[in-house]
């Protein structure tokens, strides 16, 4: 306590001796900071998830069995495991349509609710030769083709490279693990199409419940459209040719999610702005009360030789200290919810969810801090100016 007197020290003493009032005022500012930081981080993470998905979806058009369009979207976005299939004949028919640059088949199988502590996962069989949608996610994971019995697992699957996992009564070796995608791939297990068909065949004898898919079936066909081609027209063609299918145009699917997000942002910023304005009003009212109640004290300071500027600085410092510390508290509180509960939030949202890089998060923290800190000085500005302009004698007489 015994150190040089300073404006900050005086401000901290004033705040500290009235803890209940300081806490109540601080709470409003803390809420602003928490909503600003937490809300923005949430929305930014969803946007990043979306961008990452858009960037690496690969296919322009997805062909699935009729009625399975929503199921496919769920598989892609949140990894809700499913099994569905259509006739394999669709593949060559689609490949022969005009405007089609590339096609690649995939097989989707939901694993059984097997051993303890595992939830069903999505098994995806893909064709390494023709695939163009999984490969971008593989990165440095595995450079050679997958042999039968080998699998690549998503980031959230409970295993590491070198482990063995059991599906449908058979053993598979983990040879690679994907990085976090924020999408359904995080809970997926990837194998070659041949491996998948082999697993399905052997499951008849080995598994509790067989897969029930033959090698004449597949779940979806990914189509890449010629540059300059029209995905909409192509999708109409496909449905005309094979009415037992549904076609998803990727750009529309992404658009749908993007629209949902875009609706969120103005809502969030609207809420934050409203809170900010409310806070200023509350703080301004209370600070004006506080300055009024301290008229004599302030007059006394002037009598002792405080300049107008010093008085102004004292009042502003006190309010800035209050909102500054509250901002820190609010951001801390928001962090304590957002970061540890990340997976829970992502799961509940059902949307792709990826954190921005640490640098951007740091910038966001700084911005939220500054915006909230400014609340104090802005709210007390009027009171500070009028106090510094009042004649010292008039202020001292206030108390009598």
């Amino acid at each position: 306590m015994a150190r040089r007197l300073s404006t900050l020290y005086l401000a901290s003493q004033n705040l500290g001796r009235k803890p209940a009032r300081t806490a109540a005022l601080g709470f409003t500012a803390a809420v602003v900071a928490a909503v600003l930081f937490g809300g923005t981080l949430l929305v930014q993470s969803m946007q990043r998830g979306l961008d990452s998905m858009a960037g690496r979806l690969g296919a322009d058009v997805l062909v699935v069995p009729r009625g399975y369009e929503p199921t496919m979207k769920e598989v892609l976005l949140s990894g809700e495991p499913s099994t569905f299939y259509m006739a394999r004949q669709v593949l060559p028919d689609v490949a022969s349509l005009p405007g089609v640059a590339q096609t690649s088949p995939q097989l989707f199988i939901a694993s059984l609710n097997a051993a303890c502590c595992t939830l069903p996962v999505q098994l995806i069989g893909f064709d390494p030769a023709s695939d163009f949608s999984i490969r971008p996610w593989l990165g440095n994971t595995v450079s050679r083709s997958l042999k039968t019995g080998e699998i690549i697992i998503g980031d959230l699957i409970l295993a590491e490279v070198g482990d063995e996992l059991q599906f449908f009564g058979q053993t598979f070796h983990v040879v690679g693990k994907l990085e976090r995608t924020g999408m359904g791939l995080d809970v997926a297990v990837l194998m070659s199409l041949d491996s998948a068909y082999e697993m399905a065949r052997l499951s008849e004898s080995k598994a509790v419940r067989p897969v029930g898919i033959g090698s004449d079936q597949l779940s979806s066909i990914l189509v890449k459209v010629d540059p300059g081609g029209d995905p909409q027209a192509l999708s109409a063609n496909i449905v005309r040719l094979h009415p037992e299918t549904d076609v998803i145009v990727s750009s529309q699917m992404i658009q749908g999610v993007a629209d949902r997000l875009r609706g969120l942002l103005p809502l969030l910023y609207g809420l934050a702005s409203l809170l900010w304005i409310m806070s200023i009003c509350v703080l301004a009212a209370v600070f004006s009360m506080i300055v009024n109640e301290r008229q004599r004290e302030l007059g006394l300071l002037r009598a002792m030789g405080a300049t107008r500027r010093r008085l102004f600085a004292l009042i502003i410092s006190e309010s800035a200290l209050l909102t500054g510390l509250s901002a820190v508290a609010g951001i801390l509180a928001a962090s304590l919810i957002i970061f540890p509960f990340r997976d829970l939030i992502a799961g509940r949202l059902g949307l792709p969810y990826l954190y921005p890089p640490a640098g951007e998060i740091a910038v966001l923290i700084l911005l939220s801090l500054v915006v909230t800190l400014l609340l104090g000085p802005l709210a007390s500005l009027y009171s500070a100016v009028s106090a510094s302009r009042t004649e010292p004698y008039a202020m001292i007489r206030e108390g009598e």
Binding site: A2, R302, I396, E400
Partner: protein
């Protein structure tokens, strides 16, 4: 050089349709080291006069000089420096900052004047002179009225002012504390600071070297005042 000089100082307040002259053409000269008391009933304008002397209120007309400088030709920064370094105030209601410990209250003038050092040694010495060194970490609310008054005196002396202004320093105090406070003030006056004390009790006023009376904004010497009353 005279310490304080007031030339035809008037201070007029407007209260609705009426105007009240708290000071009406006051002339006053105070020498360095003098002990002057100003007596008068409440509402006579004596407190206003004290604050005019200290440069806390601007006169409607007239001039206030401190060590030859016309106070109201100074800018805010210069005037604040004068209040900080040359004048010490002891107000009617002790007026300590309630959120600071006693020791911090006393060394406040040093901080406000941007003096060097932390002022702890001098503040402790002053507290010891007023007999409160044991309570240096107490807060004003934990002190009695008399003790607060003594701290206020210590604070007023922090920057070694040439002029000490005391407004009803013994108001609300019991007799014993009253004597302690007056003794302190007298001691500091004898050490060199000029003392101007405002009081409504003539018997306390008479302790001063010179007694002036204030009545309806007009300042007179005691002799003049008696004469005026006799002829009224």
């Amino acid at each position: 050089m005279t310490l304080v000089e007031l030339k035809q100082v008037r201070k007029v307040y407007r209260q609705g349709a009426n105007t009240v002259a708290a000071a009406n053409g006051v002339d006053l000269v105070i020498q360095p080291g003098e002990f002057v008391s100003i007596v008068g009933r409440s509402g006579s304008g004596k407190t206003t006069l004290l604050n005019l002397i200290g440069g806390l209120v601007k006169p409607t007309s007239g001039q206030v000089f401190l060590q030859g400088i016309d106070l109201w030709t100074l800018n805010d920064s210069q005037l604040s420096a004068v209040r900080n370094g040359k004048v010490g105030f002891v107000f009617q209601f002790a007026c300590l900052l309630p959120n600071l410990a006693i020791l911090d209250n006393v060394r406040l003038p040093l901080f406000l004047g941007r003096g060097r050092g932390d002022g702890i040694d001098r503040a402790r010495a002053l507290l010891s002179e007023v007999g409160l060194s044991a309570r240096e970490w107490a807060y004003p609310s934990q002190l009695s009225g008399g003790e607060q008054r003594r701290v206020a005196i210590a604070r007023a002396l922090m920057n070694e002012p040439d002029l000490l202004l005391a407004d009803e320093p013994t108001g609300d105090l019991d007799e014993e504390t009253e004597q302690e406070v007056l003794e302190l003030l007298r001691r500091f006056n004898q050490a060199g600071a000029a003392l101007v004390m405002v009081t409504h009790e003539p018997r306390i006023a008479r302790l001063a070297g010179r007694v002036l009376t204030m009545s309806s904004g007009t300042l007179r010497s005691e002799a003049e005042a008696r004469l005026t009353r006799a002829t009224a």
